[in-house]
Amino acid sequence: MDITLADLIPLLPLLITTGTVVVSMTVIGIKRDYGLTVAITIAGLLLAALSAAYLMPSTNLQVTPLMVVDQYSLFFTVVTCATAMFIAILSYPYLANLDDHKEEYYLLLTIATIGAIVMVSSNHFVSTILGLETLSMSLYGMVAYPVHAEKSARFSLEASVKYLVLSAAASGILLFGIALVYAQTGTLEFTSVVNVPSITEGLGDGFTIAALILVFVGIAFKLSLAPFHMWTPDVYEGSPLPVTTYLATVGKVAMFVVLLRFIEVSEALAFDSFILVISFVAVASILAGNLLALVQSNLKRILAYSSIAHMGYLLIAIVASYFVQGSISVEAVTIYLVAYVIMSAGAFGVASVVSSSEQEFNRIEDYQGLFWRSPWLAAVFTGMLLSLAGIPLTIGFIGKFYIFFAGVEAALWVLLAVLIIGSGIGLYYYLRIVYCMLLAADIEQGFEVSIGRNISSHAVLAFLFVLLGRPWYLSNAIGDDH
């Protein structure tokens, strides 16, 4: 097959990020310059996001059997690239004082983003696995990045190894599931598992269900859905803050996009038992995530458990997609994912801004009295937390509103009841942090807050804050797209 230049245009975001890696690697080879590497990375990711945004209105193509470039994939390419760029900006001051080579971190970040772009554009198991492994491999490195620095977090190596082992196990399960799907359908492309052409005599429905469940379990590991969530709090806690942010946002989004596309195309929800499994995982995630978050005192662990619960909320929209005509549940997933990225990036972002690779401020008590010490940071943090809790005026509420709407249309009363209970429990630990920020500021060894020190990070927070507060523009925009 000849590939012309025109065929390459839809792959522009992917090519730009790949180019960014090559350029920055060469630059590092010639002369190590921290600022320059960061600038190249940010510029490359920005360019990739812009090119995807430029392609979005007009492109809908299958590029090679492995990748599909449509509005959906391009939209999430924009989201991943933009998020990666924000994280690069937040990392710059965070890593500035690391007593080790700092430049390679940005290579890993960009390579991970390549993996994420491949994943959001994949409708073929091969590209899914390629993208997933590219993403995961880079993340192992990123999690353990400050391991040689003397003053850094002690747990980063442990976190990395834990993530590596469990991730590899999950990939194994996923691959086994894929093999069984292949045995049934005779192709590695995403395709319906229900109406299999009779030529490829499959193994029967029992095997199909087993295959689907194995694939789902593999994906659930990466999404840290209960009961496959054990690794999440430890890895979140052990990673440097910007990497935690990356794990929580880009890592989750890319995987979820694949899950949604796979479930839509494969019509897997036609099997009642599969719906049952997903519903069970959703309920387990919402309850486990919220209940376990109650007893945590470390900010990263709280947000880790809260992300487990949020992934559970998202599964409700996926289940609803089977029962509802039209695009409302795909819309719900899209909006909720974007909301989730904004509020997670914002919440972790605040912690990143005040922390550095030498000292992280992860205890709730570190934020005591933030309202009076730095009203600006406290306002952003409160906004993000209220959004995670789903309070109106924020984008998190819009996400919940969509999921409620999809759930009501699909008449999923039990799941909605669990969603309400989960959100109710969630209020407690989000408000606990807010309350701590409201207390009088009388602690001795708090962090210093000065906006001048890293103005660009604050600009990122400001941008996310604005997005947080103007949710309906997003909803109207996405509503028009579909």
Partner: protein
């Protein structure tokens, strides 16, 4: 358009009050007072306004989120106007009660106070159910801050409980609203959250009861009624005085308003079926909370429980669903708004002076603070339902109407009036009569009411006497609205029965 102004003046005033703190720490309270007074004056102009079609005094309807057929639809009728006036009036009173008490971070305090008021005004005027829910939640967050920052010793627990109770039940209401909107979508082909559109939806089957319960639980939590009342004593006892005033005087009334405006008219059939249960809950609230109030030693908790007890008459009146009962419910809302706010202010004033709320430490204050004693006596007597004062009119009408609907429950509820006399007079006796004891607290600040305080109490006294002596001026405003609501609900019920 005037409604938008009413709400946005408060929002903007709040921001200005916050910012003005940097210039001078005394500006925020001044700006807050001016803002609310401005609102009050604007509202008075609504009284003279011509009635537009359908009895709506003023309104605005603009597209907001066309994707879901959600519009920015505000309108006020006689009922709303009464409650708007109550809100602004008590807003002024609340600022007065905070005048000397709140010195710490005053700017942020008045910001939260004004934003709560703005949210309440929105609740009383929103006729798009999504917008209603939006305001319902908006008034929550600033109130949380008021309790959590300026509250007393156990403020974290109280604020958290208040927030979780209201938010979780609010989400039940959100689901109900969505189900209703979805029903409308199935029946008419487009999604709408407009109150008038949703009134035409024919809900049926067991689902109607469940949706109705979503609304009912949200509203009776706010009201509150047994068994969802347990947040209220905590919130009240921990909140600063101004917070208690807003909470008891206005926020509780949003629940009652919701029952009258939404819960019953939207689901007339299910409400008729449910009415005996609701009235039973009301009777239990009245008697049980009166009994519990009698057992309290914390004066603010005591008043909080009496609030729950008095609000029982509102539930009783609403679910009797006839004109007298509804008029009684509305009058109780207004009169209780004033009397409870005044009692909380007095309790707060007492706590401010002697730093305790424990009644066991008090006694014989009449000689020390005669003016305060008389004021407390007045409002206690108002609260226990003395003829000639507003509360009597409200509770009497509510019982009169309820008698036509359900005799046994009305008879039982009427005992609440006797209990009210017992606990009210007990408070007077405990705090103001007997030997003066000061071993448990420092009485050096136990001074009588200042002239400024007397002005507030006098204003509320005039209000209560007016309501008691000439209730017609209030009844006239709410009457057409209530008759309208009753007839439209009956129309639906009879048409369903005929089918």
């Amino acid at each position: 358009m005037i409604l938008v102004w009413l709400i946005s003046i408060l929002f903007i005033g709040g921001i200005i009050a916050w910012l003005s703190e940097r210039v001078n720490p005394y500006y925020p309270r001044l700006i807050a007072l001016i803002t609310v007074l401005l609102d009050l004056v604007l509202m008075l102009s609504l009284l003279g306004a011509e009635l537009a079609t359908g009895g709506w005094v003023a309104g605005i309807d603009a597209a907001w989120i066309p994707r879901f057929g959600i519009s920015f639809y505000l309108a006020a009728d006689g009922l709303s106007v009464l409650l708007l006036l109550l809100t602004a009036f008590l807003g002024v009173i609340a600022i007065g009660s905070a005048w000397d008490e709140i010195k710490d971070r005053a700017g942020f305090f008045y910001f939260n106070l004004l934003w709560t008021l703005a949210g309440v005004l929105g609740v009383f005027t929103a006729l798009d159910l999504f917008l209603f829910f939006f305001f319902w939640e908006v008034m929550l967050i600033p109130m949380y801050f008021i309790i959590a920052i300026w509250g007393h010793e156990n403020k974290n627990y109280a604020a958290m409980k208040f927030f979780i109770f209201t938010q979780v039940t609010g989400m039940l209401m959100l689901v109900s609203i969505l189900v209703l909107a979805y029903f409308h979508y199935i029946q008419s082909g487009f999604v709408s959250f407009n109150y008038h559109d949703l009134l035409t939806v024919e809900t049926y089957g067991p689902l109607e009861m469940w949706i109705m319960l979503g609304f009912f639980i949200a509203f009776t939590t706010k009201l509150p009624s047994v068994p969802f009342h347990s947040w209220l004593p905590d919130a009240h006892s921990q909140a600063p005085t101004a917070g208690s005033v807003i909470l008891a005087g206005i926020l509780l009334k949003t629940g009652a308003y919701g029952l009258i405006r939404f819960a019953v008219p939207l689901f007339p059939e299910a409400s008729m079926t449910f009415a005996p249960f609701a009235m039973t809950l009301a009777a239990i609230s009245i008697l049980y909370c009166a009994k519990v109030a009698f057992a309290q030693v914390d004066i603010k908790r005591l008043i909080a429980y009496t609030s729950v007890s008095h609000m029982g008459f509102v539930t009783l009146g609403v679910y009797a669903w006839n004109e007298q009962a509804l008029q009684g419910a509305v009058m109780t809302m207004l009169a209780h708004g004033l009397s409870a706010a005044a009692l909380f202010m007095l309790a707060g004033g007492l706590q401010h002076r002697i730093h305790t709320r424990n009644m066991l430490d008090m006694g014989g204050f009449w000689a020390k603070v005669p003016r305060m004693a008389v004021v407390v006596l007045f409002f206690s007597i108002a609260a226990l339902g003395m003829p000639g004062l507003g509360n009597f009119i409200g509770e009497f009408l509510a019982l009169l109407g309820a008698f036509q609907a359900n005799v046994p429950l009305t008879v039982i509820s009427a005992f609440g009036l006797i209990f009210a006399s017992v606990y009210s007079l007990w408070v007077i006796q405990k705090v103001f009569h007997g030997e003066f004891v000061n071993s448990e607290f420092d009485d050096s600040h136990l001074t009588d009411l200042t002239h400024r305080e007397m002005v507030y109490y006098a204003a509320m006294m005039i209000g209560l006497i007016w309501m008691g002596m000439y209730p017609q001026s209030f009844l006239t405003l709410s009457q057409p609205v209530l008759i309208d609501l009753i007839s439209s609900a009956e129309g639906i019920v009879t048409s369903v029965v005929r089918n």
